[in-house]
Symmetry: C2
Subunit: 248 residues, 2 copies
């Protein structure tokens, strides 16, 4: 299992991904699922992946190879040449389709789930920050301010806190905190999602530096946050009134 969260806010773009992979319950490992697809002066493009690790790694590698190829001979299919983030999402979708037709088809013949989903976010040139969710068959949706986040993988446990507390206007630092709370809820309920958590922050304000950070198991901030959150939820839940039609 996996949990990846992308937030597209007035203040910037945030991507978070856990690092646990497992084949069954007896084969756990740690893999990076948050990837840098481009990080140059004119474009910053990131992707987080969920689903079959062999499929998603092939998608990421094929995108990276297309970029290398474009520097020598091929044209028009490289992220380094894409004029907009919309075109980037199309290229990622095409890569998902290509890998699905080869690796994915082979896996499905062995009745192994080959589905994969990606969050793709970033910025090209003077364009705005964008965030897309690319589905298993290559189609995609774009994040909009009404619901300023997209999730892939184990999405449900960590959603209520986002529905309740995250707004398009939330500044970056508190939004990262809410992302941490969303991951905490998910990890409490599903062992297939686990620390460390990779984090990327790209501020809308180009004068502000971006942040790339791995939140490790035992991170002091994360642990204190999770403990205090558990206390607050418990206090809030126990402090609310019981139904008036029941005896206490």
């Amino acid at each position: 299992m996996t949990y990846c969260l992308g937030m597209l806010l007035e203040s910037g773009l945030i991507l978070m991904a856990d690092t646990r992979t497992n084949a069954g319950v007896d084969n756990f490992s740690t893999f990076r699922k948050l990837h840098v697809l481009a990080d140059g002066p004119d474009r910053q493009i990131y992707a987080a992946t969920a689903g079959s690790l062999s499929v998603s790694q092939s998608v990421i590698s094929s995108l990276q190879e297309d970029q290398l190829a474009s520097e020598t001979r091929e044209h028009g299919r490289s992220l380094s040449e894409a004029p907009t983030m919309f075109r980037v999402a199309q290229l990622v979708g095409e890569a998902v389709e290509r890998v699905g037709a080869t690796v994915g088809a082979a896996l499905e013949r062995s009745h192994i789930d080959a589905s994969t989903e990606l969050l793709v976010g970033g910025r090209i040139g003077d364009g705005p920050l964008k965030l897309y969710l690319v589905y298993s068959i290559g189609n995609f949706i774009e994040c909009t301010p009404d619901v300023p986040f997209l999730q892939i993988g184990e999405t449900k446990y960590g959603r209520p806190i986002l529905d309740r507390a995250l707004r398009y206007e939330t500044p970056l630092a508190p939004a990262v905190k809410m992302g941490c709370l969303s991951f905490d809820s998910t990890m409490k309920s599903n062992l297939g999602v686990a620390m460390p958590i990779d984090l990327l922050v790209l501020p809308a304000d180009r004068a502000q530096p971006g942040i790339s950070r791995r939140i490790e198991r035992g991170d002091r901030y994360f642990e204190a946050l999770a403990d205090r959150w558990a206390e607050l939820i418990y206090e809030a839940a126990t402090g609310l009134p019981s139904p008036p039609w029941m005896d206490d």
Copy 2:
């Protein structure tokens, strides 16, 4: 979709079920999913159902018919004769198997999901309160104090609050409140779960009366609870400190 929650606590048994059913998104309706299978002086047996409505209704009806039949000629397959709740769970599992072999098989030939799950709870004679989750193929698990609740249907959104705040020692009235919070989180994130909510409470103390109640849309207690809970979560989330390695 559906959400049903059973809690087996030191203080008693609680069953809650929403009433929304849908075939696709354009055919919504309201059906009772919390059923009384026996309510006599020596046995109180309740079931909540999730999954294919035609399958779960057939399971409930066949259990009720078996009871009628037992009063005339058949023996050993009726809930009214079951000596223990374990035997009740077996009989429910057998009914699920029988219906799955007929109605379920027909549905699956048309590629319609025929799976169904049930929460079965209650008490027979001087025996203890019990709660079981009966799966789609008729096998079942029993609720134990380590995790004093079982869920079926849309289980994930409403689970974090239970993991954090519900204990085996929680008294009945606050436990019903936490059940309401769990339903509120689920309904906020999935339109396929909706009011009214049916509620059954069977206190462990036989001197206390049971409660059977439908919490209607617009219920004043439920609405005030949901509003206050949203405020508390928002306040708690916004009040916690942001990461120290980010500028506020």
